[in-house]
C-alpha cells in the first residue's frame, strides 16, 4: 500500500466538521424526542386501546420496522413531490426519522407497559395510594427503570445510523460534510477516519450523559460500555 496519509487539509476544515457534528446531534435529539412521543402514544394504544385502534398501530410498526429507513426517506424525498408536497432535505430526513424512531420506540415502550404487573398495582392499593399516586410512585418509575437502557441504546442508534442517512439526500450533517469536503480534494480516507473518531467521541459523550441522567432521574444503571 503506497498511500500517504495527509491530515493537514482535514485540520484546516475541522470547523466545518464540527458544524456537521452539531447538526448531527440536533437531528438525532429531535428525531428521538418526536419518535418518543409517537412511541408513547402508540404503546399506550397497544397496551390499553380498543382493537380497532390497535390494528393500525400494529400495521404501522410492522411496516416501518421491516423496511430500511433509507427507503422510507427516499419515499418522502422522491415520492411526495408527485403529490405536490415538496419538503426540504432536512424536513424529509427529520419526518422520516421521527416516523421510523416512533415505530421502534413503540416496541420498546410497549415492553415497558407490559412489564407492570398487576401484583405491583395491588401492592399499591394495599398501601392505600390513590390512582395518581400509584401512577406517580409505582407505574412510572417501574416503566422508566425497565425501558431506560433500551431507550438510551436506541438514542445512540438514531444518533449514528439515522442521521447519517441525511448525507444521501443532501443534508450537511457530519457524514454529509465529510462527503462534501473530501470530494473536493479526494482525501477520503483522512476525512472518514477523522469523522469516524468524531462519531465515537460524540456518542461516547451521549452515552455518559445518558448514564448519568438515568442514575440521577430513575436510579437506573445504564451501561456506558
Amino acid at each position: 500500500m503506497n498511500y500517504t496519509f495527509q491530515y493537514g487539509v482535514v485540520w484546516k476544515n475541522l470547523g466545518e466538521l464540527f458544524d456537521g457534528a452539531i447538526l448531527t446531534f440536533q437531528l438525532g435529539a429531535v428525531s428521538f424526542a418526536g419518535g418518543a412521543l409517537i412511541g408513547l402514544f402508540c404503546a399506550a394504544l397497544i397496551a390499553y386501546g380498543p382493537f380497532i385502534l390497535r390494528l393500525p398501530v400494529h400495521v404501522y410498526v410492522v411496516a416501518v420496522t421491516n423496511t430500511p429507513a433509507l427507503i422510507q426517506i427516499y419515499f418522502l424525498y422522491y415520492g411526495l413531490p408527485e403529490f405536490g408536497i415538496r419538503w426540504s432535505s432536512e424536513a424529509c430526513l427529520l419526518i422520516g426519522l421521527i416516523l421510523n424512531a416512533g415505530a421502534y420506540l413503540t416496541l420498546i415502550m410497549r415492553a415497558g407497559f407490559l412489564s407492570v404487573r398487576r401484583t405491583e398495582l395491588e401492592a399499591g392499593q394495599v398501601l392505600g395510594l390513590s390512582i395518581v399516586q400509584q401512577v406517580r410512585y409505582i407505574v412510572v418509575p417501574h416503566i422508566a427503570k425497565s425501558i431506560y437502557p433500551a431507550m438510551a441504546n436506541f438514542f445512540i442508534v438514531i444518533l449514528v445510523m439515522g442521521t447519517s442517512i441525511g448525507s444521501l439526500i443532501g443534508v450537511d450533517e457530519l457524514t454529509g460534510q465529510a462527503i462534501n469536503l473530501s470530494s473536493v480534494n479526494y482525501r477520503w480516507l483522512e476525512y472518514f477516519t477523522v469523522v469516524a473518531l468524531m462519531y465515537v467521541v460524540l456518542t461516547f459523550i451521549a452515552s455518559v450523559g445518558l448514564a448519568l441522567l438515568g442514575r440521577w432521574a430513575f436510579r437506573v444503571k445504564a451501561r456506558i460500555f
Binding site: 500500500m1 423496511t67 430500511p68 429507513a69 427516499y74 419515499f75 408527485e82 469523522v195 462519531y199
Partner: protein
C-alpha cells in the same frame, strides 16, 4: 397520481421484475454472507476477549475497543472507509466483496455483544464442572458453554440479521447492484418515486418479515426449558 397509475403496466415488465428479483437476491446474499462470516469472527473475538491472565490484557483491550468503536460509527461511514481503504490496497477489488467486508466488520461488533451475553448467561458452575474434568478452555467454551447459550444467542442474532438486511440499503451508495441501487436507477429513468420506492420497500418487507416472525417464534420456543418442551413426547407410552 395519474402518472403513477399510468406507469404501472410499464413498470412491471418482465425485465424489470427480473432485475428486482436479482437485486433482492444480491441484498440477501450480501447480508447472509456478511453475517455468517461476521458471526464466526465474533465468536473468535469473544473467545479472545475472555483470555485470562495479565499478559492477555492488551488483547482484551483491543477486543473491547473494537466492539465499542464499530458500534459507534455509522454503517455508511464504515462502508466508505472499507471502500477507500480496500481500493488503496487493491484497486480492482469487487464491490460485492467490499460490501461483504463492511457488513462483516459491523456484524462482528454487534454479534460479539450478543454472544458474550449468551456465554455469560450459562451458569459458572458448568464451567467449573468442565474444568474439574480437565477440559481445556477451548473445549469448555465450544463444547459445554456455547451449546447451552444458543437459546440466548439465536433470537437476537436473527433480529440483527434482519436489521442488516435493511442496513445493506446503504451499500447502494458505492454502486452494488442491490435493491436500493436499482430503485434509484429506475427512479432516475423517470418512473414515479412513489411507485419505485413503494415496490422496493415491499421487496425489503418480503425479505425481512418472515425472518422477524422466525426470530419471535424461536424466542418463545427456546425460552421454555427443554424438560417442558419434550414433556408431551415423554408422557406418551
Amino acid at each position: 397520481m395519474d402518472r403513477l397509475i399510468e406507469q404501472i403496466p410499464r413498470f412491471f415488465t418482465a425485465s424489470n421484475v427480473m432485475m428486482l428479483a436479482e437485486a433482492a437476491y444480491m441484498t440477501l446474499a450480501i447480508t447472509v454472507v456478511g453475517c455468517l462470516i461476521g458471526f464466526g469472527l465474533a465468536l473468535v473475538l469473544v473467545y479472545l476477549r475472555q483470555t485470562p491472565g495479565l499478559w492477555a490484557l492488551p488483547l482484551r483491550l483491543v477486543c473491547v475497543t473494537y466492539v465499542e468503536f464499530f458500534r459507534r460509527i455509522p454503517f455508511l461511514v464504515i462502508v466508505y472507509l472499507v471502500l477507500f481503504f480496500i481500493q488503496a490496497l487493491t484497486p480492482n477489488a469487487s464491490l460485492f466483496s467490499i460490501a461483504v467486508i463492511a457488513i462483516c466488520l459491523y456484524a462482528i461488533a454487534y454479534t460479539a455483544d450478543i454472544i458474550r451475553g449468551g456465554l455469560e448467561s450459562v451458569p459458572q458452575t458448568q464451567v467449573e464442572a468442565a474444568r474439574a474434568m480437565n477440559l481445556s478452555r477451548f473445549q469448555t467454551t465450544f463444547m459445554i458453554v456455547l451449546p447451552q447459550a444458543w437459546p440466548v444467542i439465536v433470537p437476537p442474532s436473527i433480529a440483527f440479521a434482519v436489521s442488516f438486511i435493511k442496513d445493506t440499503a446503504l451499500v447502494s451508495q458505492i454502486g452494488v447492484f442491490e435493491l436500493t441501487f436499482r430503485g434509484k436507477e429506475l427512479n432516475n429513468q423517470g418512473y414515479s418515486g412513489v411507485l419505485v420506492f413503494g415496490t422496493i420497500a415491499l421487496c425489503y418487507f418480503i425479505l425481512s418479515f418472515p425472518l422477524t416472525l422466525l426470530g419471535q417464534h424461536l424466542e418463545k420456543r427456546l425460552a421454555t426449558p427443554r424438560g417442558q418442551r419434550h414433556s408431551r413426547k415423554l408422557r406418551r407410552p
